[in-house]
């Protein structure tokens, strides 16, 4: 679905933990999520730090939306990874 949206001219930042899968499928702008059940958060952290992680991921997604890409490209903020 993300691919269909890109093809129609709407840039899409796909946040997923499974970046390998997204790349394989050909999604152009792939943002590294944390883990499958919580791609935009880290439940092991206190809620304000969890939210800070979320903000970093969303900022990375916004960066992906402003970046020109040709092939499937991963956008990763290493500080959010567990």
């Amino acid at each position: 679905m993300a691919k269909v949206m890109e093809a129609s001219g709407i840039p899409v930042a796909l946040i997923t933990a499974l970046t390998t899968l997204a790349k394989d499928v050909g999604a152009p702008r792939i943002v590294q999520g944390v883990r499958i059940p919580h791609p935009c958060g880290n439940p092991a952290l206190p809620s304000d730090r969890d939210r800070a992680v979320r903000r970093r991921i969303v900022m990375m997604a916004l960066k992906a939306l402003q970046t020109s890409v040709v092939n499937p490209t991963s956008f990763v903020d290493p500080s959010v990874l567990i």
Partner: protein, 350 residues
């Protein structure tokens, strides 16, 4: 002994004996007897049936005036009431292959008459028509005519009498993009052991599941100005309002929905529930923003980092959804986003 079958055969101007490239504009001609390769088909058929009509069409006539040609062919074929339609063989002739494919497709889909054609696996018509009819493989040139005619005839006869056609590799036609499920004589473990043994000893083997290659897309141009952009939040996480008002299934769902979030600063745990059946839902239940980051996007909107967060959250369930359904949903969502002047989307997936 079944009664003799009736065949209509389609050939182009060359195999129809009309002429070469200079006669490619020939409009549909009808002969009430076998012509060209049809003579070989009739011989192979013997008493079991006959070619009641041969349709001859010019390669250019068919490919340049396809709607007209198709209607003319259908009308003619319907008059002759065949049990099966044979087209070609077209070998590696591209326009001829297209015409054969188009005739067979039209006859099978519109008149519900079974059809079969034959051409080289490299004929460009194969990818367009293999799902719509049966295509038997031939060599590149008419040198393989003696090889294909008996096979084409036998296959056509089976179609005409309603014989069940088995898997592509056993029956010798090109796979039509349909996976059937059969009962093999051997268990999967047995077949795997035999396949491993073949691999280890350097013998030939063939995978049972072909591996897919996905088509890339041309990415959209990037956003120029974030501060004036409207960003939509889309998710396949199956996060829906508590109570699942639209009755989403936890997998194999082919619908999507929008839920207003304009009034929300964050997703509250008691107001949303995840119904996706493929991930451990605990973490999303405790804090839904971990799958749909509304809280942060609202914050960024308030700070002026982004222009606007789209008023609705777009939701579906990303488990077991075939590509064609994803395609259709994607197109519908795009219409929605274009209507609402959305500039970009953040898409979350589990």
């Amino acid at each position: 002994m079944t009664s003799p079958i009736r065949i209509v055969h389609y050939v182009n101007q060359f195999f129809g004996g009309i002429g070469g490239e200079e006669r490619a504009d020939t409009e549909l001609l009808i002969r009430e007897h076998p012509v060209g390769p049809g003579v070989g088909i009739a011989r192979a058929l013997g008493e079991r049936g006959r070619i009641v009509a041969t349709l001859i069409g010019g390669d250019n006539y068919f490919t340049e005036r396809m709607d007209v040609a198709r209607s003319a062919a259908l009308e003619a074929i319907e008059r002759y009431r065949p049990d099966v339609v044979i087209a070609g063989p077209a070998f590696n002739a591209g326009r001829y292959g297209m015409a054969c494919g188009e005739v067979c497709k039209a006859v099978t889909e519109t008149l519900r008459i079974p059809s079969v054609t034959a051409m080289s696996p490299h004929n460009p018509a194969v990818s367009l028509y293999r799902r719509s009819t049966y295509i038997l493989p031939t060599g590149e040139s008419a040198a393989s005519m003696p090889h294909i005619l008996p096979r084409l005839t036998a296959f056509a006869h089976r179609l005409a009498i309603g014989d069940a056609i088995g898997p592509a590799e056993r029956e010798g036609y090109m796979p039509r993009g349909i996976r059937g499920i059969i009962l093999d004589e051997r268990s999967a473990a047995q077949r795997a052991a035999e396949m491993l043994k073949a691999k280890l000893t350097g013998e030939p083997y063939q995978t049972e599941i072909p591996v897919e290659v996905f088509q890339p897309v041309s990415p959209a141009a990037p956003l120029q100005d974030l501060t004036t952009a409207t960003i939509a939040l889309v998710t396949t996480s199956g996060l829906v309002p508590r109570g699942n008002p639209d009755g989403f299934k936890s997998m194999n769902e082919s619908r999507w929905a929008t839920y207003p979030v304009k009034h929300l600063d964050a997703l509250a745990p008691d107001e949303w529930e995840p119904i996706h059946g493929g991930y451990d839902a605990r973490f999303a239940r405790e804090n839904p923003n971990r799958v749909v980051p509304l809280d942060v996007l609202r914050e960024l909107e308030n700070e002026g980092v982004i222009g606007r967060l789209h008023a609705d959250l777009i939701v579906t369930v990303g488990v077991g959804t075939p590509v064609e359904v994803c395609q259709r949903m994607g197109e519908e969502i795009v219409d929605e986003l274009h209507r609402a002047n959305v500039s970009a989307a953040i898409f979350t997936s589990n």
